[in-house]
């Protein structure tokens, strides 16, 4: 079902042809080291080498490099022989050799004559384990020319899945806020590799705090009508509509929406008449609202655990902003962060084992990860400028966050060691990234 939705959204259908039956996780390299993978230039028929090179080959190489478990070997590294010689690849440490064919799919008509089908492109990927000389992967991908990059992302994700048993994140996207003018911010999305930015909202207003449900539905807050309101989609791909406050119901500023894991509830933050803010949960189907916190302080920045049974949030109930946990009904509140005078922006990891957050020191924020099993925090970034609003990659290997000075914020991703920092955006004024598989 999920695969079907994905195909519909990105516009191509993976064709499973001659699937290798043996699909167990392959870990043919020694523990801790990376698997050497080589992808010679694709052979092309019907499309230009330039297009296949740029959009398919280069995109795939970059995806594999960024995936984590692969060491990507290049043709220029070959010591002897030509690229068609298996031994030449083995010599430089290749484990997997990926053969790509790109061409126009042909359909056999009644007259048995092949004909080219429009601007459709068909990619055949075959992977050979060169040491055992056995095929480990074979798959055909089909789509319009325009989705060559997406096909490369899907192939990269499939290869990661073949190796690790868990799908990669090459085909994921990041939804974020971008400043368009001093008074206008809108919701945008961008591919994980920084390509194809798309503006999603057009409120011509201050619009903040995007959240993406697992089925792709977007919600956010906007000052479109004056005081901030919660807007979003009630159906995947549906129009953006006001979700709260309801007409005729109690008004008041509403900020910071976060979809529950099952997408039926929306946690957000509502201000009261005395300037306190509380976390409330809206059941989107019934319109019923439940207040989870009630104290004379700030309660904000809710984030759900993946089971939807607990919420982590920021509160200054003990004097300074700290991260707390509570049950989904607001009971059993306990403090999570103990060090530092300012901790916030908690984001629960996809498996539930970690919580990323920011901690302020000398006026700047750095990213930290709290490992619930260990009850310990680890510092991820040590930046010259402030790093804010962390969110997890769907495979839990990386964090996306904003960093930079006021008005010049950019989006970056980092692994949990903080060693491989990558810049995602090339335009300033970006904030509040949310990493998703489903848009």
């Amino acid at each position: 079902m999920k695969r079907w939705i994905l195909s519909l959204v990105i516009g191509f259908a993976p064709l499973l042809v001659a699937q290798v039956p043996n699909q167990e996780v392959v870990l043919s390299t020694s523990a801790g080291s990376k698997l050497g993978i080589a992808v010679p230039k694709p052979s092309v028929v019907g499309i230009t080498e330039e297009q296949a090179g740029r959009e398919l080959h280069e995109t795939l190489l970059r995806d594999l490099e960024e995936a984590g478990p692969f060491a990507v070997l290049k043709e220029r590294q070959l010591k002897s022989g030509d690229a068609s010689n298996l031994k030449a690849w083995v010599e430089i440490g290749t484990d997997w050799l990926v053969t790509l064919k790109a061409g126009r799919p042909s359909a056999e008509g009644s007259d048995k004559v092949s004909r080219i089908v429009g601007d459709e492109v068909e990619i055949t990927a075959q992977v050979m384990d060169v040491k055992s000389a056995k095929a480990v992967f074979s798959k055909k991908y089909r789509g319009k020319d325009a989705v060559l990059r997406r096909i490369a992302h899907s192939l990269a994700d499939d290869l990661v899945a073949r190796l690790t048993g868990e799908k990669g994140v090459a085909a994921t996207r990041v939804v974020f806020i971008r400043q368009l003018s001093p008074l206008i911010k809108e919701v945008f999305q961008i591919d994980r590799d920084g390509s194809s930015p798309v503006q999603l909202t057009h409120h011509k207003s201050l619009t903040l705090s995007p959240t993406v449900a697992l089925d792709g539905r977007l919600a956010y807050m906007t000052y479109k009508g004056g005081p901030p309101e919660i807007w979003g989609q009630t159906k995947p791909g549906g129009p953006f509509e006001k979700l709260f406050p309801a007409k005729g119901g109690p008004q008041g500023p509403c900020t910071t929406p976060v979809w529950s894991p099952n997408g039926k509830r929306l946690a957000f933050v509502q201000g009261d008449k005395r300037g306190n803010t509380d976390i409330v949960v809206l059941d989107v189907g019934t319109g019923r609202v439940r207040r989870l916190t009630d104290s004379n302080c700030i309660n904000t920045e809710p984030t759900w655990n993946p089971a939807g049974t607990q919420i982590a949030f920021t509160s200054d109930r003990e004097g300074t902003p700290q991260v707390y946990l509570m049950e989904e009904d607001g009971s059993n509140v306990r403090r999570l962060t103990v060090e530092g005078a300012y901790n916030g922006s908690a984001s629960w990891s996809p498996t539930g084992s970690m919580i990323a957050y920011v901690s302020r020191f000398e006026g700047k924020f750095d990213l930290f990860v709290y490992k619930l099993g260990e009850g310990k925090s680890y510092q991820i970034t040590t930046g010259v400028s402030s790093s804010e609003s962390p969110d997890w990659s769907p495979d839990e290997r990386r964090l996306v966050f904003s960093s930079g000075s006021l008005g010049g914020m950019q989006l970056y991703t980092t692994d949990l060691s903080g060693n491989t920092l990558r810049r995602l955006t090339e335009f300033s004024g970006c904030q509040s990234p949310k990493w998703t598989r489903t848009r």
Binding site: G271, G275, T277, I298, E301, P321
Partner: protein
């Protein structure tokens, strides 16, 4: 031939005679009298019509003059009213401009500082002087907080200002609040002076 001439002569004579007979004074006076009468009546009617036309024209002229004068007076009155209104508005705006000055806050705090209390007294005095005025209190923060927490903190700053103003006697429903967190800084710059300017509550006439 002779006979013919005689006839012609006789006819001439007759016609001449008839012509003479027509000019006889005995028939003339009757005809003249009627014509004169008619002419006189016509002349009188014409004069009367002319007089009436002139009168009507004069009346119209007078009416137009009066209307013009009335219009002028009305326009002058409206202009004067407009001027008075504009002056009043200008005075109101000037008073607002003079009275509605930002107050600032300590880092992470929303308490009203003692140094800002006189500013809030001036805001309250302005609201007392102009009973129609409504003000929106906008809470803002510097960049050294998270996006979301700052939305809450800005809200609290706006409410702190509102609460202080109501304690000075301002009716609550003349004051609305909104927070922009750190989304709309007043100045750029990474230094204490810029941060202090950005940690503020602004007062906006509604």
């Amino acid at each position: 031939m002779r006979f013919n001439r005689t006839i012609i002569s006789a006819a001439l004579m007759l016609s001449l005679g008839a012509g003479i007979a027509c000019n006889k004074p005995a028939a003339a006076p009757k005809v003249d009298e009627e014509a004169v009468k008619r002419a006189a009546a016509e002349e009188a009617a014409r004069k009367a019509a002319e007089e009436a036309r002139l009168k009507a024209e004069e009346a119209r002229r007078q009416a137009a003059l009066a209307a013009e004068a009335a219009r002028k007076a009305e326009a002058e009155k409206a202009e004067a009213a407009r001027k008075a209104e504009a002056e009043k508005l200008a005075a109101y705006r000037a008073a607002a401009e003079a009275a509605l000055k930002d107050i600032n806050f300590a880092l992470d705090k929303s308490a009203i500082r003692d140094t800002d209390k006189p500013k809030l007294q001036i805001v309250a005095d302005f609201l007392k002087a102009f009973p129609q005025a409504k003000v929106q209190l906008e809470g803002h923060c510097d960049e050294r907080g998270t996006v979301e927490y700052n939305l809450a903190l800005g809200d609290r700053r706006a409410h702190a200002a509102k609460s202080y103003l109501t304690s000075l006697g301002v009716v609550e429903d003349r004051l609305s609040t909104i927070s922009y967190g750190k989304e709309r800084p007043k100045v750029e710059g990474k230094n204490e002076q810029s941060w202090l300017i950005n940690r503020r509550c602004e007062f906006k006439l509604q």
